[in-house]
Symmetry: C2
Subunit: 739 residues, 2 copies
């Protein structure tokens, strides 16, 4: 591919972006789209909207950019939580480091590459892109020192920036822990694998165990109940009487059915909804004996102090490590109730199987990637499929095919990945929604780095040579040959996957279509479900592009300007989305940062290894040798950060929790908090009459099709306030994983 | 190599073993050798020995085998502790599994190998050993099913045996924890990285921190002091006055100097030895102000209950994870005081550097192994070094060279490995002697498996082909070709390394020579230092031979009888050594078992992977495919064990400790125990007058040359009973690492 091919690709993408941004600035002004573009604001305000018509509504304007730019960090934290802050810090870090890299590489490395070999240069537009890569430097050239220096500067700047960001995020996380001190999750642990005994119920076992071994700090507990569909229906039938009697809001049903059905669920079931009256503790009436049979071997146990809960969660309870397994409980909104009932002894099998399934999926995915590579290496393809050569003669088609299509095909295939990985993470048995998303994020990230980077780099060679890497004599040398040749592909990848995805992110075409369907075809006046931020698709994408940026920074510096544009746009777009679109129902408290940190370190080390290979191939053994200490220093830095910061992201510090406990005890706030606990965690939440209005705030999430509502099903647990049971027929909205 | 070559090797080794065993049975009867062969008994009894002469003393007899065989498990536990028990269980497990494997492989697999190809067989003694390996089976043979079946049976038996052994050892470990309930280590934690403040001493910081955050359970603490040589000498000089006044036992000095000097140390220094009088708590006299300057940022903190200590050790104390780092304290005898003073912030650097050093050492070691392989592949060597061909014409020399010499050379080189790895583990910063030994054990094990197995397998190919593995297309196929061809070498390795090492173990030539030197040349009547069991050399050796047994069981079943003989002998010899020779000063409480478990699982999985490769090469894809589920099942089993048993080896269970605490409180034993704590951990132990007699019981250990005495140096710590200071000039016996 030559410069003009690249510019064609860049032109197409820039045009597309501009159109998308303009379209967005118009669409967002339409009151009917408010639910798509202002889900966050709506959730906060629930204000009346005025639908008056004005011409201004149809004029594209950059005002949203200004508004987004002006938002302060506090606003971001308030509307998106710490996770959103972390995400934006990832983007800011990328902007900073790639600005430094771009300056160094374009003014120092690029000219050296271009004038590396004594050759007659063609006109710039017709110049092959390879001329701008390190491949154009002469063997044994003195100028490779400049590349080595650039690598040193980039690595050091990256480490310094990473250090300060990590420190900053760690402090933010500590603030977050202190700030969420009224959260019942800090007092609560999740106990799983409660041993079954014929004499007593699970609930009694829990009470006996904790009053025996944690008498001074144990407060109360709440069992987790099975949510099996058959049992649900049986209980529903038994409660039919009340259902018919007290369902006052039938007019809502029609719209609710359609809306929620579209949101995801299709299965009908009767619900028992409890009011908000006095609790009946430990009662053993009709409902309780029924409930006892539905108890799982899992419970939430409440403690008197945060420190006691932390201790109980961390210590190995029983000499048999497969029973009385304790963890800190997730926040009430964050609990993924369905997985709490999975027998603990099956969890490791599930984990191993999903691991195998993920690896299998990663391997099978190689097929489309190889096809994409076939498109890029036209000559190879033409040889193999001669009937295509007619169509491929037109110069414009060649440009489109080489410059744009391969990435588009790859991107389309890649859209299937996050839902699949999300499904795997669900099956794996995550106990909280945030940990499920985090686990999916890691899986998608590994997948992308493997399938987009390594397979492309290696399969490019497959087509060219029709043999797998022929000798592992020197892996670095192999990478050194393979990586620079793929620079062109990754430049177009940044353009198509990066830029285009931002336009899609901004426009939200899927939500927009849904909205149109509701409003104008179903004539439904309710707002459709709002979304929570899809960290498991966006973080891997941003990190992958950063990864490409590092690996190609000194090999093919032309990639850097495109990346910088991407990160600038990403900063604007994601800020806007966090402020306006996504609703934060739950968060992991900044636990995405260590993922980012490790990925960056991995990128740096890989860049350095590839550089060693390239320097070796260019017969500059001294530059090659000088890069080895850099690897060791980078690893040392990583090890330091792992000791200095990572533990805070894994466990809470005793000192912090003890001081919070003391403060609350001095204020006399503790007793008040204890009263809140039983109500905080409700597996079957008490729902007010306007069920449909509540939907945007309940767990309807994930634009990848993982639309879901919290299981609003069944009954109130026995140890908890069993209120006047209000039974209503409604819809069970099950999780639906669209692909 | 043919059968007769193998038999020559076996003959030499059998003869050597018989001579060694006979010699041992004579030598052990000589009273002058009692300290070499009965260190353990002597330590227990200190009985008078009668030196009367009898002819019986010079007749070889098998009585020691009978005595060893008759010893009960309780005796083993009493004299060797849980670690020795675990070690013997490893041997017993190996005997069991290889008995099963031998029966199956010799009656099912061996005939199939031998008659696999239609060929005219020579006479058995002249038959090449390759005829007995899987290499002799025809391609596409139906009989490969038998190999697959044998693999299934071996894997299943191994897993079943492993499960019951792990369960058994876990119960033994729980008994051990309950049994050592009077041990102060259960009440103690080690705090490192105490933050330095200009206002208060480390000791005050510790007191303030723990009275603040762990007020209810904190009892007292004891600082760790620097043991720098310069400071030591300065204090010694200041105390010279007392030194000269009260050293009543000068006559001892001569012998002590010689003996201890030989034990390891060479550096003189003055010691302060404290009597056993009343303690002066928290006094702030001359000595204390002096001590304050020598405080390290580390302390032992004593708690009121075991559970409180466990909690304090496990919970992250501070929001800065680099300060107030807590761990459970090792047992008093087990503490490695020198490493406690290492600043915590340097520990991770040390760990990374020793890791790099170990890897470097492993790589450099390839050179002798390649030379050894050169000896085995005579043809290749003769081509390269033609002047050797004259000497290599004699048939007997060829047999010796191919059958015996390579292993001997390898074994001699391998003797340098354990001391080196032990040194690395010391530098790494282990806080206890047992953890240092365990860490060295892992390092030696990785080293052996890599350098003895993989490098031999791969470098055999180096000499043959003069190219590194040419294509990684199929790693399994590569292993499948390479592994069976090396069967001969490993058979001789079992004979030379295995059998011969047992003879050496029994005879203890090094200790015997030392003893002779003391007794008959130096005319010293004291017993030289007794040894503690060198787990870090013996466990890797046994595990390596087990590893070879698994990988070759179906490839070359002829290895199994030799292995079985080895394990039977090992059972006898090690039982004898544990009962009679080694003194147990400290132990890890069975923590070697998980290492054994993981190694066995690794061996099984590797065997299965190699089998897949071999079946593939033999064009039996169905057998190959049938082996894949076996790998998955083995991994699942391992994962189960990791969840079911491993946590017990990592942490103590709260339930067990709480119940121990209650029992002690009911007995009213607690107060009594609290009094013992300050005396239990003494960095500078109070030594009675007969310093020399105490040596066998202090920390003079490790026959690999790591002879050492606990640093009997310096002064009593400030917070502890500072008794009437008795200053004596004696020898500082520093750690000496012979190579």
């Amino acid at each position: 591919m030559d410069i003009s091919g690249l510019l064609t690709s860049a032109g197409i993408n820039t045009g597309f972006c501009l159109v998308a941004f303009a379209l967005y600035s118009v669409l967002r002004k339409q009151p009917s789209n408010a639910s798509v573009y202002f889900g966050q604001r709506l959730a906060q305000l629930r204000a009346k909207r005025n639908d008056h018509f004005s011409f201004d509504r149809f004029v594209p304007s950059p005002s949203w950019i200004v508004k987004t730019w002006e938002a302060s960090e506090e606003e971001i934290l308030a509307s998106g939580g710490l996770d959103a802050m972390v995400f934006l810090r990832i983007v800011v870090f990328s902007i900073r480091i790639f600005s430094i890299a771009a300056v160094i590489c374009i003014f120092l490395v690029l000219p050296l590459n271009y004038f590396g070999k004594e050759m007659r240069h063609r006109q710039i537009p017709a110049e092959s892109l390879d001329v701008f890569t390190i491949g154009n430097v002469k063997e044994g050239s003195q100028w490779l020192w400049a590349h080595c220096l650039a690598l040193y500067i980039i690595s050091f700047s990256a480490c310094v920036l990473l250090y300060f960001e990590y420190k900053n995020i760690t402090n933010k996380r500590l603030d977050y822990i202190v700030g969420s001190s009224l959260n019942p999750s800090q007092f609560t642990i999740l106990v799983r694998a409660i041993p079954w005994s014929p004499e007593e119920s699970y609930s009694d076992s829990v009470r006996n165990f904790f009053t025996n071994y944690h008498a001074s700090s144990y407060l109360s507990h709440q069992m987790v109940y099975q949510t099996g569909a058959v049992q649900k229906l049986m209980i529903d039938a038994a409660k039919m009487y009340e259902m018919i009697k007290c369902s006052p809001s039938e007019p809502h049903f029609g719209s609710c059915l359609i809306r929620c059905g579209l949101c995801g669920g299709t299965k009908h079931s009767f619900k028992i909804l409890s009011g908000e009256q006095e609790s009946i503790r430990g009662g053993s009436g009709f409902v309780n004996s029924d409930l006892r049979e539905k108890e799982c071997g899992a419970a939430l146990v409440f403690f008197r102090t945060r420190y006691a809960a932390l201790v109980a969660a961390q210590v190995l309870q029983s000499p048999n490590p497969m029973i009385w397994v304790t963890d800190l409980a997730p926040e009430p909104n964050d609990v993924y109730w369905k997985n709490l009932c999975i027998p603990y002894r099956l969890l490791w099998i599930r984990r191993l199987l999903t691991l195998l399934a993920s690896i299998g999926f990663m391997i099978v995915f190689v097929i489309p990637v190889t096809v994409v590579q076939g498109l890029l290496h036209l000559e190879g393809l033409q040889k193999r499929l001669p009937f295509l050569s007619g169509a491929l003669k037109s110069k414009f088609i060649i440009r489109i095919v080489t410059g744009y299509l391969p990435s588009v095909v790859l991107v389309l295939f890649l859209y299937t990945v996050p839902p699949t990985m999300y499904l795997f993470s669900t099956i794996e048995g995550a106990i909280s929604r945030s940990s499920r998303k985090k686990s999916a994020c890691c899986k998608v990230l590994y997948f992308l780095i493997w399938n987009v980077f390594f397979v492309n780099v290696l399969s490019g060679k497959v087509i060219e040579r029709l043999s797998v890497v022929s000798s592992p004599k020197d892996v670095t040398a192999q990478l050194g040959t393979a990586v620079p040749t793929q620079a062109t592909f990754f430049m177009t990848y940044v353009l198509s996957s990066g830029w285009a995805s931002l336009s899609f992110e901004l426009l939200q075409p899927y939500a927009l279509l849904c909205n149109l369907f509701y409003k104008f075809i179903l004539r439904n006046k309710e707002d459709p479900c709002t979304l929570s931020f899809p960290y498991h698709t966006e973080i891997p994408r941003v990190l992958l592009l950063g990864f490409l940026g590092f690996t190609y920074s000194i090999m093919a510096p032309l990639i850097l300007p495109f990346l910088l544009v991407y990160f600038f746009l990403a900063y604007l777009v994601y800020r806007n989305q966090i402020l306006n679109v996504y609703v934060t129902m739950y968060e992991s408290g900044g636990k995405y940062w260590p993922i980012m940190h490790n990925t960056t370190i991995f990128s740096l080390v890989l860049t350095q290894i590839i550089a060693i290979g390239v320097f070796g191939l260019k017969e500059s053994t001294v530059a090659s040798a000088f890069t080895i200490p850099l690897i060791i220093l980078t690893l040392l830095f990583n090890e330091y950060c792992r000791h200095r910061f990572y533990p805070i992201f894994k466990d809470n510090a005793a000192q912090v929790l003890i001081e919070l406990d003391r403060k609350d005890e001095l204020c006399g706030r503790m007793e008040e908090m204890y009263k809140k606990f039983p109500k905080a965690y409700s597996q079957f939440p008490s729902t007010s009459n306007d069920l449909c209005k509540d939907i945007p705030l309940s767990h309807c999430e994930d634009r990848d099709g993982n639309t879901r509502l919290q299981d609003l099903a069944d009954i109130k647990p026995g140890n908890l306030p069993i209120q006047s049971l209000v039974v209503r027929s409604t819809l069970e909205i099950e999780e639906l994983n669209l692909k």
